[in-house]
Symmetry: C2
Subunit: 274 residues, 2 copies
């Protein structure tokens, strides 16, 4: 992929990001990562709705869906499957935390290659690490995909073993919250449980779809706190994000599960077959 033509800033190939952009200076912005197939962003209405909601939490007016779709169509080619990353910042301001009364948000649309996922992730499942880096509780920012992601970076730096696919992040009370780049679900019998994200974590749109369609898998969905030992006692554990849909978890530390079918069923519904 030619990096020089792999992104648009405010719809332009020539615009640049300056150090006065508040996204760069303070992480004052939000983002989304989504799969684009043949120029069609997957689950676009949910992604756009979430982008608007996340912008709104920190007081940014989200650019119109038409502007963003125009960017996608300009960047992407027919017959390719790529990752689009959308970043919306509050725009430029003079130095200092106070935003000006009127700001012009900046939008970045990037096209990146799809990550390569091993066939065994789809056929069997993935192994997770349990991260030492915990997620701090900040209810004013919980759930939104903002640009302050140093906790995720530090957590992801904890392992380099390629056999480990992602890492579970806990909160300060040692409750399971999410993975560094995924949400997490545990099935107990007919109940599908995912952690509460009102104190920390990112509520992804794939998580939302899985919650909303749990009945299609004959499950009832529940949002509730869950400890690591409770997670280990689950019948199945799956993780989800917008790029791979869902993967079965077969190992966390010393605890192993047999491969099972929930992630495959979810992927089938999401149309995220490899």
């Amino acid at each position: 992929m030619n990096n020089a033509h792999a992104y648009l800033i405010n719809g332009s190939f020539d615009a640049t990001i300056t150090p006065l952009d508040r996204g760069f200076a303070y992480g004052d912005g939000v983002f989304r990562t989504l799969k684009v197939v043949n120029c069609v962003p997957q689950h676009w209405p949910l992604h756009y709705q979430k982008l608007v909601a996340d912008c709104s939490v920190i007081g940014i007016v989200c650019p119109s869906p038409e502007l963003l779709m125009n960017d996608i169509v300009q960047l992407c080619l027919p017959n390719e499957t790529v990752v689009a990353k959308i970043i919306i910042t509050r725009g430029q301001s003079e130095r200092g935390y106070m935003p000006p009364a009127i700001t012009t948000p900046m939008r970045v649309m990037m096209k990146r290659p799809m990550p390569t996922y091993l066939p065994e992730y789809t056929n069997q499942g993935v192994t997770l690490h349990v991260c030492d880096t915990f997620l701090a509780a900040q209810p004013k920012l919980a759930g939104i995909k903002h640009l302050n992601r140093l906790e995720n970076v530090l957590a992801r730096m904890e392992w380099s073993d390629p056999a480990i696919f992602d890492g579970i992040m806990l909160d300060t009370e040692s409750r399971v919250i999410e993975c560094t780049s995924a949400n997490i679900f545990a099935r107990f019998g007919k109940e599908l449980l995912t952690p509460d994200l009102t104190q920390c974590g990112i509520a992804g749109i794939t998580r939302q779809i899985i919650l909303d369609t749990a009945h299609l898998h004959q499950l009832s969905a529940k949002i509730a706190p869950i400890s690591l030992s409770e997670l280990f006692s689950a019948d199945e554990v799956i993780i989800s994000n917008s790029l791979y849909g869902a993967f079965q978890v077969i190992k966390i530390g010393q605890h192993a599960w047999k491969s099972a079918q929930l992630a495959a069923s979810v992927r089938k519904y999401l149309k995220y077959e490899q």
Copy 2:
């Protein structure tokens, strides 16, 4: 100030920041804000030492002091007093939280105008707001001046009254930690107390100087937790940062102090007279 020539990226006026820079993508970097008088950065050894230490916490190798000083000399003019802002990011990488095995840090040196401080701030003191936005506890990032500053932005957005100079930020246990852009000190008799910053907050270099030189003001320095009601019972309260040195606090909400002399003594020592 001509913005077009107000910053250098890796020592160049022509370099740009791309969306693949991890400072922009994740706030994966640190910064410093300092006063430069006649091309001479004030308290440079302490600033540089802190920059190196902060970089080290998140695993970035800080550029050499010579590179940074060259940037300052290139940007600043004799006979001007300006603000220099240094930003060091982990550099560029492909999308994803994991940094590559080898990264080349990016350095940004910006020159900005000094803020204008009213004479009454120096002669009398300043009024503070108490922020609703609290600082989340994250010991792995506490004390360092990293680029994840959304909490400070949200806190600063809480007031627009120009009579309020800064806002006190508390932690989740309602302990006083700092202001959005300053450290805070409370004098009780002969003891000068400043909050512990091992769970959250930024440990500024002016705070360090004030702690190290408390004896010059016949005070003993102490780092300890402090509640808002304890702060209200202090004989004097001052706030500090690298641009104004120190200001006396004369009002927080309904609680008022008579103007006093500690901030003036500190400024005199710091040579930060207006």
